[in-house]
Symmetry: C2
Subunit: 85 residues, 2 copies
């Protein structure tokens, strides 16, 4: 059962795609990535522990539950269906 | 033509697998990830810009050419062949 599309997905999709296939250079593919890793990375971008201004700006207003939703969305995407090459 | 297995692959394989399927919690799958992103991340781990001691220790002795080799190895792995779920 595909998880509901997170309300904030549009924030991520511009660079990472809704399908988790990065649209921008030096930006990771996210499709099929591990949920626990994605959540850890999102928290690190939000806190500034990973110092990437565009990610901090995008995630700033989001609560942890929304971070989980976004991590779940991308983790559940099949990496090859998205042709994540 | 599959690229030669990097000499240092063993360092990465313990956590990330030779096949790019993470073996350890909160550790990313790498199979089919973008080459340019992987190289950027490896350089950030090596410089300490991304502050992860185990990665800094593993990458410390490596030159940039070896980082490129490792990034190429994982980028060229098909994400779904590795079943990167």
């Amino acid at each position: 059962q595909t998880p509901a599309k997170p309300a904030r997905l549009g924030l991520c999709a511009a660079c990472h795609g809704e399908d988790g296939r990065a649209r921008v250079p030096e930006t990771p593919n996210l499709a099929g990535q591990r949920f626990d890793y994605l959540l850890k990375a999102l928290r690190a971008y939000k806190s500034g522990q990973r110092d990437v201004p565009v990610m901090r700006a995008a995630l700033g207003p989001l609560g942890d539950a929304e971070l989980e939703q976004l991590a779940r969305w991308y983790a559940d995407l099949a990496p090859c269906a998205a042709g994540a090459r």
